[in-house]
């Protein structure tokens, strides 16, 4: 039987799991996917180091990543002694990390693994291509925290966005910020990209209703233009979602002024997962949290703590 989580990702070949914060339930989601893979061969890696058994930031016990037999994974050589699967080394990539070369391993038994994959986008692409050539059906990239992961769209077609009570004590804040990230990540892919220009945004918009933003899009740049009315009905295109550094309030204002925000690189958020339990001692009402989150986004919202996802 396919669970809701699997249903949302089944048709996506490469996906990344991105967390709003520590203890958002990223690893729980990953373990769910792995345990419900039903014989599908998955390729698994991470952006940089992840999967330590104790969270080095909060000191809370973190679940390890437990993979079924047959799974392919890519990790730094020094991590291999911390993996208890029976290992078949299948490829050495030559990609260096502080923890040694990234090595591709086929798990010949189930077991726990420690992931420390490449941290450069192009290398992650190399690794996921290798997974497919070695017979993987899907590649999963365990993303990093925060904004950096927005860039994961360059390598993954789909994103699972994980959020939870650990992000903030106020549920509205968690839902609001998650919805904001969701909105930015799910920006429409630009069908045409406006020409790049060095001129100030205000000047470009006088001549044309659209503009490519070469760097970051910030409140400081946008708010004055909103006030002057220069942005009305404009189309702004950013290189990728990580370049959008706008507050939710500004995003709302852009929507009201009929300003379209688009991106050159586009992936899709496939689902949002919520973890109502915070690592810092407070807990949200699971149902209320899920419902509030669901009201804010138009993809499935799944509670990671529920037995059947």
């Amino acid at each position: 039987m396919q669970t809701a989580l699997w249903k949302s990702i089944i048709n996506t070949r490469t996906l990344s799991i991105v967390g709003m914060c520590k203890n958002a339930g990223k690893t729980t989601v990953l373990n769910r996917l792995l345990s419900e893979s039903h014989g599908r061969v998955l390729g698994l890696t991470s952006i940089g180091r992840d999967g330590e058994s104790t969270d080095v930031v909060t000191g809370t016990e973190k679940p390890g990543i437990f993979i079924p037999e047959g799974t392919l994974f890519a990790t730094a050589k020094d991590m291999l002694s911390l993996c208890d699967v029976t290992q078949e080394i299948v490829y050495t990539t030559g990609i260096p990390t502080p923890l040694g070369e990234v090595v591709l391993v086929r798990a010949r038994s189930a077991g726990s693994v420690q992931l420390a994959g490449p941290s450069i986008t192009s290398q992650l692409k190399t690794v996921s291509d290798l997974f497919f050539s070695l017979g993987a059906e899907q590649a999963i990239i365990d993303g990093a925290l925060g904004r950096k992961s927005l860039g994961a769209r360059a390598i993954a077609e789909g994103v699972i966005l994980c959020t939870g009570a650990s992000y903030d004590r106020r549920m509205e804040k968690v839902v609001g910020d998650t919805a904001n990230v969701f909105r930015v990540m799910n920006l429409k892919k630009a069908e045409t990209v406006p020409e790049e220009s060095d001129r100030p945004l205000a000047e470009i918009l006088k001549a044309s209703p659209e503009a490519l933003i070469p760097g970051a899009l910030t409140d400081a740049a946008v708010v004055p233009l909103l006030k002057s009315g220069a942005l009305r009905n404009a189309r702004l295109v950013v290189k990728d979602p990580s370049k959008v550094l706008l507050s939710p309030d500004t995003l709302d204002k852009l929507a009201i002024r009929n300003v379209t925000l688009e991106t050159v690189e586009a992936a899709k958020v496939l689902c949002v997962t919520v973890n109502p339990v915070s690592a810092y001692g407070w807990t949200f009402d699971a149902e209320a949290f899920r419902n509030a989150m669901q009201a804010a986004v138009d993809v499935p919202v799944i509670n990671v703590k529920e037995a059947a996802l």
Partner: protein
């Protein structure tokens, strides 16, 4: 011993030659990076290498696809010498190291039939691969020939039992009620530790079994490097028209030699390199010629080809005869030594002394470009004459390029740049006034950079005057110069 610094290597175009090579494996790359020059007492080795290269170059057209296949396998070889060293020191190699060793052996096994096929047409003497199958059977006991490395369950009875238990516990972990899971997990951790210990024992046994094969594996790494280098040299010879020189006792003859860097540079400008020929022997040879005439190019090309020869390369010439040399020393214009605080002339003399000391150690090639250029012409001429006389008596081939008068008569041989000797100055002058291009470029186009041997007393080349005339120097001055020549 022949050695060459990076600056000189760049200056004479040796670095350019090395950069045209594309060695595929780390062992081949190392041979290019640490170029080895054969010494006079290694004549047989050099001859073998040169003949190997000649055969490989001659067969390059017929064996092109085979070379490609060999190169493709070589590209996949990784440098396993670090692991082999650890193995010899008694270390237990980890999974990844054993994987790399297995990969190396598998690729050597792929290489063997290709190399044998190459040997049928282009015999490469002195390159021999050891059979990797014995070492391979240690790392691949079940003979699966799979690329991955995995310690199979059957490696020991104990491992089989441990892995079965591990699997059983994993199954139980899925099925057992939550309350029992912690106990099963603890049990599983213990079994995983047992597996690790047993695998370590097996890896240890594998390493012990591999130990006797270390010399063969090192030999294979070396052979792969030599094969890689050989193919690259053959492809180089094909591209730049190399030839195997005949080894002589003392004579040096280069017929129509070229310099790949300049060939390519001029080709890009739509011009062609004029091949240079020289035949010389023990003693001093003086090369004279006008400025712009390419004396330096000739000197550099001689140095380049002498070094290529000693590195087992084909020589870029139509025909070549070369002696084996103790060393090749060059004294070319060197901006770097100026920075050492000495004046241009002072540093030149210091470097000359150093070089001479080395040249005196054995039959060598000594190339000196414009010695004493930085001092006044009267003194300079006297110094160069004396140096030439000294070098003429020395057991070495010394070649001096100079534009000082009266040097050639102290040398055994005298070569001159053909330059503008056979060109009608009026014709060029006409061309210059017709075409509105840079006069220097027009002259350069007509300049013959070849050398010719001057027999007997040399007449002073009048190219400088010719150039003045062609570039329409004021007639009054020209008349003065001509007057002076007559005196």
């Amino acid at each position: 011993m022949i050695s060459i610094g990076f600056d000189d290597s760049v200056k004479i175009g040796l670095q350019y030659v090395l950069e045209t090579l594309h060695p595929c494996c780390p062992f081949g790359a190392e041979r290019v990076r640490k170029l080895r020059f054969y010494a006079p007492d290694e004549r047989e080795l050099l001859e073998t290498e040169l003949k190997n290269t000649e055969r490989a170059a001659n067969a390059a057209d017929a064996l092109g696809p085979l070379y490609e296949k060999i190169m493709l396998v070589l590209c996949q070889l990784k440098d396993i010498r670090g692991s082999l060293r650890r193995l010899s020191e008694g270390a237990i190699l980890d999974h990844v190291e054993l994987f790399e060793l297995k990969g190396f052996l598998l690729r050597v096994a792929d290489l063997l039939p290709l190399f044998e096929k190459m040997q049928e047409t282009a015999q490469a003497n002195g390159i021999a691969f050891s059979d990797p199958s014995a070492a391979l059977s240690v790392l691949d006991p079940e003979g699966t020939r799979s690329r991955g490395f995995y310690i199979p369950d059957g490696a020991s009875e104990q491992l089989r039992a441990i892995r079965a238990e591990k699997k059983r516990l994993e199954q139980r972990l899925y099925e057992a009620p939550d309350a029992e899971k912690d106990t099963i997990k603890t049990e599983r951790t213990r079994v995983c530790a047992e597996e690790e210990t047993e695998e370590r024992e097996i890896r240890k046994a594998m390493c012990t079994a591999l130990l006797p094969h270390v010399p063969a594996m090192l030999n294979n790494a070396d052979a792969a490097g030599r094969l890689d280098f050989l193919i690259q040299k053959a492809l180089f010879a094909k591209k730049y028209g190399g030839v195997r020189p005949e080894i002589t006792e003392s004579a040096l003859e280069l017929q129509d030699m070229t310099n790949p860097e300049l060939v390519d540079l001029l080709k890009a400008k739509g011009r062609a390199f004029v091949p240079v020929s020289i035949a010389t022997d023990r003693g001093a040879t003086v090369v004279t010629g006008a400025n712009m005439g390419g004396k330096s190019v000739a000197m550099k090309t001689i140095a380049l080809n002498a070094l290529l020869f000693h590195a087992g390369f084909p020589v870029c010439a139509k025909a070549a005869k070369m002696p084996m040399l103790h060393c090749v020393r060059m004294l070319f214009d060197d901006a770097q030594s100026m920075q050492s605080g000495l004046s241009g002339f002072g540093s030149e003399i210091v470097r000359f002394n150093e070089a001479l000391k080395e040249v005196e150690q054995g039959y060598s090639l000594f190339l000196i470009d414009e010695l004493g250029r930085g001092t006044n012409p009267d003194e300079g001429a006297v110094i160069v004459q004396a140096v030439t006389r000294h070098l003429n008596a020395l057991d070495a081939i010394s070649i001096l390029a100079t534009h000082y008068d009266g040097v050639a008569e102290h040398a055994r041989m005298h070569y001159q740049i053909i330059g503008l000797k056979d060109v009608d100055p009026d014709a060029i002058k006409a061309e210059l006034s017709a075409a509105h291009e840079d006069g220097v470029a027009v002259i350069a186009r007509h300049m013959n950079y070849g050398l010719y041997r001057v027999e007997g007393k040399a007449d002073c080349p009048k190219d400088a005057l010719n150039i003045c005339r062609m570039l329409s120097m004021q007639p009054e001055i020209l008349a003065c110069i001509e007057e002076a020549y007559k005196e």
